[in-house]
Subunit: 268 residues, 2 copies
């Protein structure tokens, strides 16, 4: 495992870091494919936007990019970047001039079953819900206990992802992915301005669809709509798009959009 | 600063610890007064209950108690205990057999103005809201970005605390305290089963009130109710009870319950 902490090789951080103490920070999970950092500009852009929303100094993105390639020793791997508000006195109030902590770590590429992309995955609906908070919605912040509890709900390896609902029973996303469904000739994806993460692959799908004549809409989505959809798929930075073929044991319609998007992504 | 990490002196933790990566853990903030750990049994009890709710192994509480007194070098200080789900592979799903991380750190007692307890404090209402999630409500978990953003809202030192509302505009608590109001002859405090923290001092006030013939009720509370209350006060493990004398510039009625409770607490 290669890790850089504030630019230097290291495996530890200050026990008083606000990232640990309060979840006061952000992260990015970046796919390294054939030695290239996929969607890197979108990742860096989102990180910078997140820092601005939290009132954190935006790290030097050129430096960060160098660090990403320094840790990414393998041609196929995953690099996770964490930026926290750093140390400081005890108490929630952010220090006036925080010194952010930057952690850049490489991990082996996850060994997902080949069939996830080609045959589609099985989904379930999680009991753990997502709380609505527009103040932090969309951000890839460090407060992920909801996702931890949701993933702890099931151990059946044949179910590749769980969908998470909000207070009102609207479906927002997967535990670690965004959701798209084909309704008529257009793609719908849940809005992420009340809860959920604005994923970079989600953004890429929206962009790709727009340039391929497919209308898109960020909207409220009910779980039942998945059963009448022409296609359902999940996205994240590592997996690209996985079509879904089953939700809680009931079949979902199969389409071709996820496969087309993956093909395009692979050529990118 | 004295810190024990897993029982050994240290100032750092693993950069991959799930406490940092996902906010996957809990904490306690304990007041050391005259060399004694105030409400220690309530703190340990809440920590153990929180671990059980998160599916975390409960730490050896006897060992933890020893560590608290080891770091608490001063007769008057604050000890913060953090328990996380420890390290593990990347991904939200908790490892099957996690090895929790335990951090016990002593901090100087905060120098709050003398008048906070005797004269009462000024309050404001925060713009940042608390999201409702019964799955993690009441827990003193590490995901505290809402509180961080709420405390970042103001810098007027004359305002000692901000109140936080939930989605529905109900007042839940302060950024780092619980709220009580006197309505008629009884004490009301917001319920903490949808959001907010079930504070140990809150619990102690409820117990004290019960044994002093004061009825109590955990309920829904609207901000306007503070203006018609006979008394308003905030509690946490460090401050005890602070009466409030002003909310957003409007005066609040003054009573004697907070002072009586503090007197009782000081003798405890």
């Amino acid at each position: 495992m290669n890790i850089l902490v504030n630019g230097s090789p290291g495996t530890v951080i200050d026990a008083l870091d606000r990232g640990l103490q309060y979840g006061d920070g952000l992260f990015e999970t970046i796919a390294i494919r054939r030695g290239r950092a996929r969607l890197l500009s979108l990742h860096l852009e989102r990180l910078a936007a997140g820092c601005r929303r939290l009132g954190l100094a935006v790290p030097d993105l050129g430096q960060l990019e160098k660090e990403i390639f320094t840790v990414a020793a393998a041609a196929e791997c995953v690099v996770k970047v964490i930026v926290t508000r750093g140390g400081g006195v005890r108490g929630y109030r952010p220090p006036v001039s925080p010194t952010p902590t930057r952690i850049v770590a490489a991990f082996p590429a996850p060994a997902y079953p080949e069939g996830n992309a080609s045959q589609g995955i099985r989904l379930r609906i999680c009991t753990t819900r997502l709380a609505r908070n527009p103040a932090i919605a969309g951000l890839k912040h460090l407060c992920r206990l909801e996702q931890v509890l949701a993933q702890a709900e099931w151990h059946d390896e044949l179910i590749a992802e769980g969908l998470m609902l909000d207070d009102d029973g609207l479906v927002v996303c997967g535990t670690h992915s965004n959701l798209f469904i084909l309704a008529g000739a257009g793609l719908l994806t849940p809005r992420v301005d009340r809860c959920g993460v604005a994923g970079v692959m989600r953004r890429e799908v929206l962009r790709w669809a727009g340039s391929h004549g497919i209308t898109t809409c960020e909207t409220d989505l009910r779980p039942q709509q998945l059963f009448t959809a022409g296609e359902v798929f999940l996205t994240n930075a590592i997996i690209g798009a996985w079509p879904a073929r089953e939700l809680d044991g009931r079949p979902l319609a199969r389409g071709t959009i996820a496969a087309e998007f993956n093909r395009w992504l692979d050529q990118g």
